[in-house]
């Protein structure tokens, strides 16, 4: 049994190692800033000048109030937001609604120059480099990327197996 836990933990970590490079999660990052009155400013940072498409899926009940792009470069459809990146290094949009703790924002991107796709990473507040000094204490956690989730799962499995093994050895 304990061997089974160990194997499961190791297997989970191996899966993380294999899957994560294909996800290319590091390309595009999302930050979420509270903007008061249940509104949030979402900032998407693009590390290079490129042409890309982003699809953001918001939790139900959220409303999109504002997008920093020209009208031809985005389309909002209920809780799905389509964004066309044409050289921009940062795109922001403002949403209103119960983002926390009801759900997360999930995003995918396609870089049409590099021919790559991936998931938008981030969502946990990392706003210190932005102006406005937002209140980070109530920062919503949205759009957790696949990497920490899978890595955490693997570590939990491994930790559980190890502690169970120790417990049995001591008894």
């Amino acid at each position: 049994m304990k061997r089974g836990y160990l194997i499961a933990g190791i297997a989970a970590m191996v899966v993380v190692t294999i899957l994560v490079p294909g996800v290319s999660a590091g390309f595009l990052e999302r930050s979420v800033l509270p903007a008061g009155d249940s509104t949030y400013r979402i900032i998407l940072s693009i590390p290079r000048e490129t042409v890309a498409g982003i699809t953001e899926t918001l939790p139900s009940g959220m409303e999109i109030l504002e997008v920093s792009l020209p009208p031809d470069q985005y389309h909002a459809e209920e809780t799905t937001l389509y964004l066309a990146v044409i050289g921009e290094r940062e795109i922001t949009y403002v949403v209103k609604g119960p983002i926390h703790p009801a759900g997360a924002i999930h995003g995918t991107w396609t870089d049409y120059i590099a021919g790559e796709t991936g998931m938008v990473s981030g969502g946990v507040d990392n706003t210190t480099s932005h102006t406005g000094a937002p209140d980070t204490s109530g920062t919503p956690r949205a759009g957790a990327s696949l990497l920490p989730v899978l890595a955490g799962t693997g570590l939990v499995f491994a930790g559980a197996a190890l502690s169970r093994k120790r417990g049995r050895d001591e008894s």
Binding site: Y82, I86, Y112, I113
Partner: protein, 402 residues
């Protein structure tokens, strides 16, 4: 009247740039010849909403439009090749065939990857020491024995050939390829002549949207050649005899090698010969008393060293043999130990700046303190060719080093 019309038509055909048959700009929905930001934005949003993925053929069109917008400001790109022919491109090239190793080397310097190249000349495929990524790559034969069926089978979207070297053969390849595939542009680019090399770099950079990389490469060459110029212009030029891999075959004005001797601050003793690559009478060398002799190796009976990395001892053997030629003991070059062996890999093609730097050091040893051809060679391989800088071992390219 009819004659006037014919003349006008002929003038139009000559002056009108060659435009690819697939001339419509991708993503130019209103057909005004410009991909506007709004047009691209709408196409992107529409594609996202449709859920189409990168593997969808319609997305390839969007990718091309995106590329043209980003690298060509949303318009077609007209490039004049080394032969003076104007070619207008409306989309990026994805499936090129390169039959000129100097152009391929320059493409690598610009970061143009193998993924855009579907086939190469057979000699490129046989140089794994310098083009490891093309070892065993699909080949279309050579300039002299071209496999036209293979060219067609690769469905290229462009072909790259020499402009001035092997001109008759390359003209024939261009004629036959154009007859079979009129939509496929044939670029004639040399990428070996020092006088036009930096222009060729700019042409390739424009074609592939690599202007930044091109500027970086041009700057590297200008810096290196400026250091050479400082040394070479500082004192009287020595009289130089340069012999290629064929014994007693030299160079004259009009050849790239003559220009390289001059750049390095030497005076070519056969500069005024009417032929660019004359075979000369051995007695005439003795009569002209060269101060410096340079023997080029790397071809015909002198295949050793260079990137092959073999037989470094042969450099000394060749030097000793040349110095021992009948009657040569009286030459200033031999008496003063100024006979040098130089591998053509660092003089004949895009790497000429390395060979020229070695030559400038040999021609002006008293003023060449700042010249460091080994470091230059290493930097070129590492920064631009993405190759192991250890390949720049001077024992395999020159003898003696100083």
């Amino acid at each position: 009247m009819t004659r006037h019309v014919a003349v006008l038509l002929a003038a139009f055909l000559i002056l009108c740039p060659v435009v690819l048959a697939d001339a419509a700009l991708p993503g130019d929905s209103n057909g005004d010849g410009v991909i506007a930001r709004e047009e691209l934005g709408r196409s992107l949003v529409s594609t996202l909403r449709s859920g189409a993925t990168l593997s969808d053929p319609s997305v390839r069109e969007l990718q091309d439009a995106s590329w043209v917008y980003l690298y060509w400001n949303g318009t077609s790109r007209t490039v004049t090749d080394s032969s003076g022919k104007m070619i207008t491109l409306t989309r990026p090239l994805h499936r090129i065939i390169v039959m000129n190793s100097e152009t391929l080397e320059t493409m690598r310097s610009l970061g143009i990857g193998k993924e855009r190249i579907v086939a190469v000349d057979k000699y490129i495929a046989q140089k794994p020491e310098f083009f490891p990524e093309f070892a065993g790559y699909p080949s279309v034969g050579s300039i002299w024995a071209t496999d036209y069926e293979k060219i067609l089978s690769h469905r290229p979207d462009a072909l790259f050939l020499y402009a001035t070297v092997c001109k008759a053969e390359c003209d024939e390849i261009e004629r036959r390829v154009t007859a079979s595939m009129p939509d496929v542009p044939v670029f004639r680019i040399d990428c070996y002549h020092p006088e036009t090399y930096l222009d060729d770099v700019a042409r390739l950079a424009a074609i592939f949207g690599k202007e930044e990389e091109g500027a970086c490469l041009v700057s590297f060459y200008r810096d290196a050649l400026s250091r050479v110029d400082t040394v070479s212009s500082s004192s009287a030029p020595p009289e130089v005899y340069l012999e290629n891999w064929n014994d007693y075959k030299t160079v004259a004005r009009g050849s790239g090698y003559h220009d390289k001797i001059t750049m390095a601050g030497g005076s070519n003793i056969f500069r005024d010969n009417p032929a660019e690559y004359p075979e000369i009478d051995p007695e005439s060398i003795i009569a002209r008393k060269p101060d410096v002799v340079i023997k080029l190796v790397g071809s015909v009976n002198y295949i050793f060293g260079g990137y092959l990395g073999k037989d470094s001892t042969r450099f000394k053997e060749v030097r000793d043999a040349i110095s021992g030629r009948p009657g040569w003991s009286t030459l200033p070059a031999v008496r003063n130990g100024r006979v040098y062996v130089l591998h053509n890999a660092i003089l004949g093609g895009p790497q000429y700046l390395i060979g020229v730097t070695y030559m400038a050091r040999w021609f002006h040893p008293e003023r060449a303190g700042d010249l460091d051809p080994v470091s230059l060679h290493r930097a070129y391989l590492e920064q631009f060719q993405r190759l192991d800088p250890e390949l720049a071992n001077p024992d395999l390219f020159v003898f003696p080093e100083r």
